[in-house]
Symmetry: C2
Subunit: 403 residues, 2 copies
Amino acid sequence: MSVQQLEQFRETIRNQLDRTVDFWLKYSHDTQYGGFFTCLGRDGQVYDELKYVWLQGRQVGDLYIGVIEFNFLFCAGGAFLRKHARVSNSSGQWKCAFCLTRDGRAVKVQRTIFSECFYILALDELSRVTGDKDMQLEAEQVMAQLVHWVQVDPSGLGRPPLPGDTPTSSMAVPMMLLCLVQQLSEARGPQEALKYQSVGQWCVQQILRHVQRGGTAVLENVSAGGQELKGCQGRLQNPGHALEAGWFLLQYAAQWGQQDLRDTAITQFIKQPFHSGWDVEHGGLFSFLDVDGLCPTQLEWSMKLWWPHCEALVAFLMAYTQTRRPELLESFTQVYNYTFKHFPDEQSGEWFGYLTQDGKVALDFKGGPFKGFFHVPRCLLLCENLLDQLLQKDGTRAGPGPV
Amino acid sequence: MSVQQLEQFRETIRNQLDRTVDFWLKYSHDTQYGGFFTCLGRDGQVYDELKYVWLQGRQVGDLYIGVIEFNFLFCAGGAFLRKHARVSNSSGQWKCAFCLTRDGRAVKVQRTIFSECFYILALDELSRVTGDKDMQLEAEQVMAQLVHWVQVDPSGLGRPPLPGDTPTSSMAVPMMLLCLVQQLSEARGPQEALKYQSVGQWCVQQILRHVQRGGTAVLENVSAGGQELKGCQGRLQNPGHALEAGWFLLQYAAQWGQQDLRDTAITQFIKQPFHSGWDVEHGGLFSFLDVDGLCPTQLEWSMKLWWPHCEALVAFLMAYTQTRRPELLESFTQVYNYTFKHFPDEQSGEWFGYLTQDGKVALDFKGGPFKGFFHVPRCLLLCENLLDQLLQKDGTRAGPGPV
């Protein structure tokens, strides 16, 4: 792979990042009530005023990363979230809402941890920029609550225990927690990193338990004891999620100097899910697969969604940057070619999110209940940074280096 | 349309009904624990042992309709449901589970009324066959609870009220209740019919409030006051659901001799949703549409699902049988041609449930979390009965007649 090729990747990625940021900057901000509109049509029109908290939190968390000029928007979004996201129930407990009205009234509360996760992401990012210690404290308090729900007692989530509901371990939970551990400790120095060290270790161990079938597959759900579960739930594979876990583990391995973990991440969370998850007929990554080759029950299993491709780009480029193994850059190129051919919307900017199996646009909105200002800019920014690193170092330093 | 054509429809439909019944009879019964396996792969293999209560209830309700030889299975399924479906919570209230393990332990309870609806359907059908008065009483008691949740106080469903969660009226609720009113009163004589008369009237009024935009559209969700709601939820159209409501209304109109209601059902719930919901490019009915022509947020919006086609077949054939208007038989034929070309599986029997927009099989299982022994046999049996009626009467009696 030539330097020119890497330069060309970088040029396209920088350009796409600019266009993506422009799109959200132009259409997303609610100047009347604060916060962000997340349901944006192909050309940026607001087709629903509901504000999804996952995306509010992610947007606040992401807007700032490397994009200093968004200071104003970013703070406005954070203020909206802090004012409205937390909802108390009659017994004095609280949860973050999943969805708010335009003016901030809670519409729906989920019985999972994810709204809280994105709330922490937003608070912590905002506290770093503003230096607001109170906000940082709140982020840490919510994190402590989250760790309690996950490791000690989930009853506060509001899901009554049922006799047939075997405790299961979904990979999403330790992944999200690990992401928050990185968030809460990075750029805050070794003191903060040590504070969350044991939670981070727990997350890594939990993620590794999803490698099943003698190391040949990452399964999305396992039993609380780390065994394969019966039925569809147990056989479910989510290639995009495995790839995302892969680069989370790469970051962690680089931070703590764990070369074995780096190699496990590359072999089992990046290369293997990519090879089994790639659609050899039409290209692109499947959304879900059944490890026994049965038909998944998720209606969108064969659709090509934007975010698994984002995760694959980051995973392969980070793995290549750490190891300089050429086959990793080849896989990156394969994903890159599919992604940039199919997802970006040349007409109106940003990316389409949902394609049919054979690569046609199936849903043309740019933002919706689960697509916002998150995966695309995070991927583009991380890839740009990695390419910067590769281009500056190319020819001067071989071998692995921290990301 | 010739008599030969109707005979040919009837022959195909009878044949398909036999094959469908054979399939479920052969693969669905759990001889060890009772109840039915509902997750059946293309060739009938059980790919998950979870038992979804909607489908257990529907299967018990449907197995018997006109298929006397299933007495044994049918009772076994009913016994499993009665033994396991009801789950009590800590405050002494109960709900029906949404999903049970193979041996009947509750896995999940939804905060909606639908599991209870199918439980009533099963109990009532079973009580009719066995003459078990206690079972009939339980069906009526659960029905009373349901009416209370819907008309008086939904708090027992377990969804805490939230300030941004505007009360909305989903068409599914009065449709299900109307279906149960028919179930609980049909074949039990005028006395029983009178007992549920006011609930039935309420359901019809509620359903009619979903006709919006000056009569040009049926919208799936409206405000509690019967107004159009803002956003995606308010603009949502579900053509299959409107068509199903259409034939529910036709049955009701025939029972109570309401010719105006019959005409409203045909014009606004059958012809209009069919014309706006039909995919002129690829054929078949869309799953969801946005009344303003925006992109729905449901990932499967453009997929062709089996059940809207079932509902369209029944709706047009029933409307034709009641009115003998030729254009209704033409539309029936249009749906029939698409349906029987795309959905039945010639290889293994039963129907595929989920096609891509252009008619390829996207998911090949025969039973899953939402597809069971319900829409296909109900549709085929009703169509066969309607065709019997048409063929016997053809040439001897013109004009509308009760179904």
